[in-house]
């Protein structure tokens, strides 16, 4: 996992450098990178349930906050 993380970060830095100057392409490109890294981290660490619970808690908090306001 550590080797994979290190390789991913290096690849991200190396490839991101070429797209950094492009204004229009930057957003979608880095969104894809972040999505890939998040999915990969969740998949490798087998923390699907943890992420689902976290998302549920956040949604509940947002709902309560909206009712409160």
């Amino acid at each position: 996992v550590w080797l994979l993380s290190a390789c991913s970060v290096l690849a991200f830095l190396y490839e991101g450098k070429t797209v950094w100057k492009e204004k229009r392409q930057k957003t979608v490109y880095f969104a894809l990178w972040i999505a890939g890294l998040i999915l990969l981290t969740v998949g490798v660490t087998d923390s699907k349930e943890v992420v689902c619970d976290l998302a549920e808690t956040i949604l509940k908090q947002v709902k309560e906050w909206r009712i409160g306001t």
């Binding site: 797209v19 392409q25 490109y29 894809l32 890294l37 999915l39 998949g43």
Partner: protein
């Protein structure tokens, strides 16, 4: 000479692409001993679909599906269809990686978690996709004879264990037979549309058409032999119950004390085929995202796209039962996806041609 060689390489790539997954999985489990009949029905169906794709390759040579959709369809429609095809490619990639990881961790690398083979395959596919379709074609033309040799050797060694009585009775349950026939249109042959990414690189339209049809027929022939062998060796009841039928059928082969694990040949064939398919799926998904987001070719998309595929493969499925359930739904999506995009593009091509003719007549 170069053009012909290039077309031959596309042929090898297409066959490896179609063999990937199915050579170890063994096709539909519902059909059981009627698997050969199911294959023949599918051969007729896919000859029609591939002729239809061939017509498109002939009309618009050297263009991939996304460029064709962008050229001939209205803006909203091509964007929507491109998005659907990108999602489709991601799902196919996820299924491929998960299947490879599961097979490796269960039968080949027992003590290693399935993440490791998945990441190794991802790394090789990223390298292949970065090198481009021509490099993948070169790789395919190099490994294709080895795959054929491995399959021929294992086939020959299985002859002693075959009992063709297992293929009877023919069409014992018509409902299951039809179910199996439909399943086979979705998996393994539901991915044929992704080959457009490779056929877009062929400059000669006649060779594209010939190679596309030839590759499908060749892959069908090989799979037909493998599936008949599986049914004749394992028998119908066992064939309907187990995963990775080909691997189990090969497990029966024993060459005295000299070479007991002949399955290793199948493992090599699976790795070769999966690398070819992984590269094609990755190239297709990258082409789609580049076209949809108007990215230039120089934007390196392969690594993030491969990471999303690998992440999805680890998240969507936990076991083979979940994969089966996914494929149950997937088979209803597969056939419409294969026909909608190319069909609309072909209609657009004819429509444009008619308009040009009308315009010429008006001008005269």
């Amino acid at each position: 000479v170069n053009r012909e060689m290039h077309a031959n390489r596309i042929f090898a790539l297409s066959v490896l692409f179609l063999l990937s997954g199915s050579i170890v999985w063994g096709g539909s489990r519902e059909a059981r001993q009627d698997i050969w009949l199911v294959m023949l029905v599918n051969l007729v169906l896919f000859s029609l679909i591939v002729s239809f794709y061939g017509l498109l390759c002939k009309r618009c040579p050297g263009k991939d599906l996304f460029v064709l959709m962008r050229t001939f369809l209205p803006a909203g429609l091509w964007r929507m269809l491109s998005f659907i095809y990108i999602v489709y490619a991601f799902l196919i990639g996820a299924v491929l990686l998960w299947n490879f990881g599961q097979f490796s961790s269960r039968y080949v690398l027992w003590e290693i978690p399935k993440h490791v083979p998945i990441f190794l395959l991802v790394a090789v596919c990223i390298y292949g996709a970065k090198k481009g379709i021509k490099a993948v074609c070169l790789y395919a033309s190099f490994v294709f004879p080895f795959v054929c040799l491995f399959l021929a050797v294992t086939m020959g060694l299985s002859i002693k264990s075959m009992d063709f009585g297992e293929l009877l009775p023919v069409c014992y349950d018509p409902a299951l037979f039809l179910d199996g026939a439909y399943t086979m249109t979705a998996f393994p042959f539901g991915d044929v549309v992704l080959l457009f990414s490779a056929y877009g690189a062929v400059s000669s339209h006649t060779s594209a058409y010939r190679n596309h049809t030839g590759a499908v027929v060749c892959a069908y022939g090989i799979l037909l032999l493998i599936m008949v062998r599986n049914a004749a060796v394992l028998g119908a009841p066992l064939l309907g119950e187990i995963d990775y039928a080909t691997y189990h059928a090969m497990g029966i082969i024993g060459l005295e004390d000299f070479f007991k694990r002949i399955e290793v040949l199948l493992t090599f064939a699976v790795v070769f085929c999966d690398v070819a398919k992984g590269c094609i799926v990755l190239i297709f998904a990258c082409q789609g995202i580049r076209s949809l987001c108007s990215f230039s070719r120089s934007v390196p998309m392969e690594i993030p796209v491969a990471f999303v595929m690998a992440g999805l493969s680890l998240l969507i499925f936990d076991n083979n039962a979940q994969l089966d359930r996914f494929l149950e739904l997937f088979r209803y999506v597969s056939l419409p996806v294969q026909l909608t995009g190319p069909g609309l593009v072909l209609a657009g091509v004819f429509f444009q041609k008619r308009n040009v003719k009308k315009q010429k007549i008006r001008n005269v």
